[in-house]
């Protein structure tokens, strides 16, 4: 006899669709895996099956409406895939719901990425592009969650903005904390405008009413103007309970991406530029690369090692 077992059953009825289906068919038989005495089992008899189903569906809808804000592009793309919305709804299960709220969006993103392998896209290239977009959003979601967890565990973070001076180019650089970098097929803002026609608050409801069409998805994803999206999560509201995070983003030419492998704390901007010059890079390109590094330092996405 255990109240904790009753709580576990209650939670599972809300978030385990297989248990819920079995419960709606035969209430008592469905609960045999829980260590409940007769009176505790009888407590669940009053539950109307249709009401339980409705409750669970509304709950999943509300949760996805929030999670959609972390993955607006990916949820929109997923809505255009065969049974995409159903897959998203199925991700609201006990595994997701036992994940702490701060980390839940990251969990959903990772699980959606696993599902992308089994979705049917019009081509492998389109699948790769959709996956890249999901990974970009997942990277931002993960850095945001990590930052919030850090603030909750250790309090406000010291300001890490690099002090830039005339020697800045000579100092070894590395990626700052809470920074993600991904190649996306077009500017994030352009993709958002094309894939999400309503505000984030209304997007999930809109996608359920009118999913993105396959033809629109294909047209948008086949327009290529690749960018390196670099995003740094920063604290927008400090709190002992629920710190909030926002992002600074910089978009650079796709060609900048390979240079990131040298941003590991061992080389300075000057050294990277010297190596590029050695292999024949033109002055104009070197100036452009230096400006990009400067921009990343200015915005706190790179820091001195």
């Amino acid at each position: 006899m255990s109240f904790e077992q009753q709580e576990r059953a209650l939670f599972d009825l809300l978030f385990d669709s297989e248990l819920r289906d079995r419960f709606c068919e035969d209430q008592l038989k469905a609960l045999t895996d829980y260590d409940l005495d007769q009176a505790e089992q009888d407590d669940f008899k009053a539950i109307r099956p249709e009401a339980l189903k409705l409750d669970a569906a509304m709950r999943a809808d509300l949760l996805l409406s929030q999670l959609c804000k972390s993955f607006p592009l990916s949820f929109s793309i997923t809505s255009s895939l065969n049974e995409g919305l159903l897959v998203l709804k199925q991700l609201i299960d006990t595994k997701t719901m036992h994940t702490p709220a701060i980390e839940r969006a990251t969990m959903i993103g990772n699980r959606l990425r696993e599902q992308y392998a089994s979705f049917s896209f019009t081509s492998e290239k389109e699948q790769a592009i959709a996956t890249a977009i999901l990974e970009a959003e997942l990277g931002m979601t993960w850095t945001s969650a990590t930052l919030k967890r850090e603030v909750l565990d250790n309090g406000p973070l010291p300001e890490t903005q690099a002090n830039l001076d005339e020697n800045s180019l000579q100092k070894p650089i590395k990626l700052a904390s809470f920074v993600s970098a991904s190649i996306i097929p077009q500017s994030y803002g352009q993709l958002k405008n094309k894939l999400c026609t309503v505000d984030d608050d209304c997007l999930w409801r809109q996608l359920n009413k009118i999913p993105l069409s396959v033809s629109v998805r294909t047209r948008i994803l086949h327009t290529e103007d690749p960018r390196l999206l670099v995003a740094r999560a920063h604290v927008s509201r400090i709190s002992k309970c629920e710190p909030a995070a926002d992002f600074k983003t910089v978009e650079l030419s796709e060609g900048f991406a390979p240079l990131f492998q040298h941003v590991n704390g061992s080389m300075s901007v000057a050294q990277i530029l010297a190596q590029l010059k050695q292999i024949g890079a033109q002055e104009q390109m070197l100036q452009s690369i230096q400006a990009a590094f400067q921009q990343l330092l200015d915005s706190g996405m790179l820091e001195f090692a």
């Binding site: 109240f3 904790e4 009753q6 709580e7 209650l10 939670f11 809300l14 009176a39 505790e40 009888d42 407590d43 669940f44 009053a46 539950i47 109307r48 249709e50 009401a51 339980l52 409705l54 409750d55 509304m58 709950r59 999943a60 809808d61 509300l62 949760l63 929030q66 719901m97 036992h98 702490p100 709220a101 839940r104 509201r237 709190s239 002992k240 309970c241 629920e242």
Partner: protein, 300 residues
């Protein structure tokens, strides 16, 4: 019967108010300034007071008091509340001068993960039985030990009902054992009747009615399925006839009500004032709380 503490009796009468989102339409300050507007504003804001204090000050300056209605406290179940969150709640309530604070007795978060009820979609109602009641007593006392103002416990909206105790026997005993006040949402009572098949009128003798200090009225929707209607809380929609009827049934039973609140987040501004007018009329006609009725004299 456990005597009700003076702290509940002594709460101020706030009249007829509105529950609003501080930073969106309808605008609380515009409504407060309007003739026949709400005499207080209730809001379900973030735990950190700094996030809302600017908006709250605007409401105060317009001449209305505020009530804070959190949505992140576990007033039931095995999962304890975070000390940090409760301390932030105490600070919040002190700064906004909320005379009391109320929240649904429901799970807002699961495991050890303090969070808003949105982390579960919305409130998860408790199982209504004695073991659950014992946990609820523990949770309410845990909150009272850190948050110094009067706590009002509220029956949550119920899509489904589980348990062996009636709603009012559960809440009555919980209120008496923790010496707290009660908030009754008329729509939530309708939802209980539909979810359980029981009748509120038949349970009135189990309700320590003198502890009810606040009443809520809000919009809702009915989903009709084979075995009857299911009530869905939906503040942005019209108030159902069943909810108005419940208000007329309950007002005469509640001699110590201090505040009646129309929860109208997302409602068209033009329909708020007529609804407040109707609520005031019903209070005048049916309420046995002299304090509440007297508080209306200047606002009709």
């Amino acid at each position: 019967m456990v005597p009700m503490s003076y702290h509940i009796k002594a709460l101020p009468a706030l009249g007829v108010g509105a529950s609003l989102s501080l930073s969106s339409k309808p605008d609380p300050v515009t409504l407060v300034k309007a003739k026949g507007g709400p005499s207080f504003v209730e809001y379900a804001g973030l735990v950190d007071v700094d996030a809302v204090i600017g908006e709250v000050n605007r409401v105060h300056e317009a001449g209305a008091s505020v009530l804070y209605h959190p949505s992140y406290i576990n007033f039931c179940g095995s999962f304890p509340n975070s000390k940090d969150w409760l301390e932030a709640t105490a600070e919040h309530i002190a700064k906004v001068k909320s005379a009391w604070f109320a929240q649904d007795v429901a799970y807002c978060f699961w495991d050890q993960d303090a969070a808003y009820s949105t982390s579960l979609g919305y409130f998860v109602p408790p199982v209504f039985n004695r073991a659950s009641l014992e946990k609820a007593v523990e949770r309410v006392k845990e909150v009272q030990s850190i948050v110094p103002v009067t706590v009002a416990i509220e029956p949550p909206p119920l899509t489904f009902f589980a348990g062996s105790m009636s709603l009012f026997s559960f809440f009555g005993e919980l209120a008496k054992r923790t010496d707290c006040a009660i908030l009754l949402d008329m729509g939530h009572l309708v939802s209980y009747e539909m979810a359980s098949g029981k009748k509120i009128k038949e349970e009135l003798n189990e309700l320590p009615s003198e502890r009810v200090v606040e009443v809520h009225v809000a919009g809702g929707r009915l989903k009709h399925v084979a075995d009857g209607p299911i009530y869905v809380d939906a503040h942005e929609t019209t108030i159902l006839d069943e909810t108005w009827e419940m208000l007329e049934v309950m007002l005469p039973e509640l001699p110590n009500v201090k505040a009646v609140c129309y929860e109208c987040e997302g409602v068209q501004e033009s329909s708020v004032l007529p609804t407040l007018k109707k609520i005031r009329r019903l209070v005048k006609e049916h309420s046995t709380s002299k304090e509440l009725v007297n508080s209306l004299d200047n606002s009709i």
